[in-house]
């Protein structure tokens, strides 16, 4: 379509999902220079047609929603929390974990008229308890949420649970699973139309790689 540059900008979340995400893009032919400076926050793939930007996971929806990046990869935990208006055409099958409520093993099940909840996900937490009619005080923390119950700041936490090890180490156990979370490919609504061909190509290439991965896993002894 016309003048529209076919060049794509993809937002990559730094940290937990970064390595697996880059592997996935490498598998569809979007390879980064092996010797790139890890402090560099924007770089191109080898062909030079795709630009990667490396941002904090919670910033991926912001860049994509504003169209600064055409697409991005982000955990559904971040997506649920951001309430950003994005297309989510593909679940990438990486970074699977749960968003869960966890509480000290000895916490009584009932009898609380007001629950103090420590979390990095204030919106998810308040929506979840709100729908259940449970009054809560949300304590928004930016890290080490597992400590809050032990130190008496909160009765329970809402957090991302991968293996559950960190929880056990802090005397917590999952009491309710709010949602499953996995990395999603997200696309800006305008880019989806304006760069339709390249984005469609990217989606179908990623789909192909994911399918191959499934087949490989299934055929493993």
């Amino acid at each position: 379509m016309a003048e529209l540059t076919a060049e794509l900008t993809i937002a990559i979340p730094k940290g937990r999902l970064e390595a697996e995400t880059l592997e996935l893009f490498a598998a569809v032919g979007l390879r980064l220079d092996q010797h790139r400076d890890p402090r560099q926050l924007a770089c191109r793939d080898e062909s030079g047609e795709t630009r990667f930007i490396f941002v904090k996971p919670s910033d991926v929806p912001v860049y994509v929603e504003h169209g600064i990046a055409d697409c991005g990869v982000v955990g559904s935990d971040v997506l649920l929390e951001s309430e950003a208006d994005l297309l989510q055409p593909l679940s990438l099958g990486i970074g699977s974990c749960r968003i869960a409520v966890a509480a000290p093993a000895d916490m009584p099940e009932n009898g609380h008229t007001m629950l103090r909840v420590a979390t990095k996900y204030p919106r998810i937490a308040s929506r979840y308890f709100g729908e259940r009619g449970q009054p809560v005080e949300i304590l928004e923390l930016s890290g080490s949420v597992e400590l809050a119950p032990a130190l008496g700041l909160a009765d329970c936490i809402v957090d991302l649970v991968e293996t559950g090890r960190t929880l056990r180490e802090n005397g917590l156990r999952v009491t309710e699973v709010i949602a499953q979370s996995a990395a999603q490919l997200v696309v800006n609504r305008a880019s989806y139309q304006l760069k339709a061909a390249v984005i469609a190509e990217l989606i179908s290439a990623l789909k192909g790689v994911l399918l191959l991965g499934d087949v490989a896993r299934a055929s493993r002894p």
Partner: protein
């Protein structure tokens, strides 16, 4: 403690210099195009009863408005929308006028909060047209043509895309599958965010795996005329089929005008289905991360104000458009002549003004120095 007066509430802003000029230029061009299609300008009231918007736009949209209480205790709203107010005027104030009614406007609208974080403006200006009293492909095409002319006149023809769909396609599918409101909303959400694998899983409960997958593929991508043949293979219910046929005849006109490069059929467009009753379209422009505008057919709206009449219309967001064009306004769109500098320092003030008034009489731009 008092706030410093320098602070501006979030979501509001000043426009000046290039941006202010770009807004004026765009608005002037739009209004002259609308007049060229015989649309009459209407200036709706800024404040109206909240219940009007609640009825017209639906509760969730209306709830985003700024509300205030009138002296008699009734709830008022700063208008969050232009169309509602105009639709009401069409069937009340202009009830006796000959049909079709062609109305256009440039109206500031207000929202307490946006629909998403990219939608940060709480005050924005919508420029639009409404064609009331005609239910035909010609009426739909007229609205699309006006929007297209505006985009082309603004020299965006190399970068704009208009996506087309019809609300009845989705409604027909929902009816055919026998979905209740909750399932309908979930299906709509999955189509809207193009979550294809989840969509397939959802549909598997209602239809065969083959059909579910064919439907997911159909809504995934927009396309040109080939979409119709693909859609007919997947969609068989008469209600959706009728909508597809309508869309196809519209496409034939677009194609015959040589416009198909800028148009796409996007059957995955399912926003505001409770509002639109036929054609829906969205306008995107390269360089702008958000939608520039859109429109469609809303045959159920005026009925809420006492008389059901078919209607179709569109809006573009002046703010987004002006932002995009502000960079070019001096070179391409400016109509301003060069200014004449008049020195006033030490000169006879009567002579200075005599000269200035004369220059202005011939419409030259003047600037009195010092």
């Amino acid at each position: 403690m008092s706030e410093p007066l320098s602070k501006i509430p979030s979501g509001f802003r000043y426009y000046s210099a290039r941006e202010a000029r770009a807004r004026r230029v765009v608005e002037t061009i739009a209004m002259s195009i609308f007049a060229g299609w015989s649309y009459e300008e209407i200036v709706p009231p800024t404040v109206d009863y909240y219940s009007l918007f609640e009825q017209g736009m639906g509760e969730s949209e209306a709830q985003r408005s700024f509300r205030l209480v009138d002296a008699d205790g009734r709830l008022l709203a700063l208008r969050p929308d232009g169309t509602t107010s105009i639709a009401r005027a069409a069937v009340t104030l202009f009830a006796k006028r000959e049909r079709p009614l062609r109305l256009c406007y440039s109206a500031t609208v207000f929202h307490q909060h946006g629909q998403s974080s990219a939608d940060w403006r709480r005050e924005s200006t919508q420029i639009g047209c409404e064609l009331v009293g005609r239910d035909s492909t010609a009426a739909d095409m007229e609205i699309l043509s006006i929007a297209t002319e505006l985009l082309r006149r603004l020299q965006l023809d190399r970068s704009f895309v208009v996506t087309l769909s019809d609300a009845e396609i989705f409604s027909g599918i929902v009816e055919n599958l026998g979905l209740d409101t909750k399932a309908r909303d979930e299906l709509r959400r999955l189509v809207d965010i193009r979550a294809l694998s989840e969509l397939e899983r959802f549909l598997n409960a209602y239809t065969s795996a083959d059909e579910a997958s064919a439907f997911a593929n159909l809504i995934q991508l927009s396309g040109k005329s080939e979409v119709f043949a693909r859609a007919r293979r997947v969609i068989t219910n008469p209600r959706s089929r009728a909508a597809l046929a309508r869309l196809e005849s519209l496409w034939r006109i677009i194609d015959s005008l040589g416009w198909s490069a800028n148009f796409e059929i996007d059957l995955g467009d399912v926003s505001r289905l409770d509002y639109y009753t036929g054609l829906t379209f969205k306008i995107y422009v390269g360089g702008l991360g958000v939608r520039l505008g859109g429109g469609g057919r809303y045959d159920n709206l005026t009925g809420k104000f006492g008389r059901a009449e078919p209607a179709v219309g569109f809006v573009v967001e002046l703010d987004a458009l002006a932002e995009l064009l502000a960079k070019e306004v001096d070179s391409n769109l400016s109509t301003q002549p060069e200014s004449v500098l008049i020195p006033s320092d030490g000169a006879d003030i009567c002579a200075v003004f005599g000269e200035v008034i004369e220059l202005r009489a011939s419409n030259r731009q003047v600037r009195i120095d010092k």
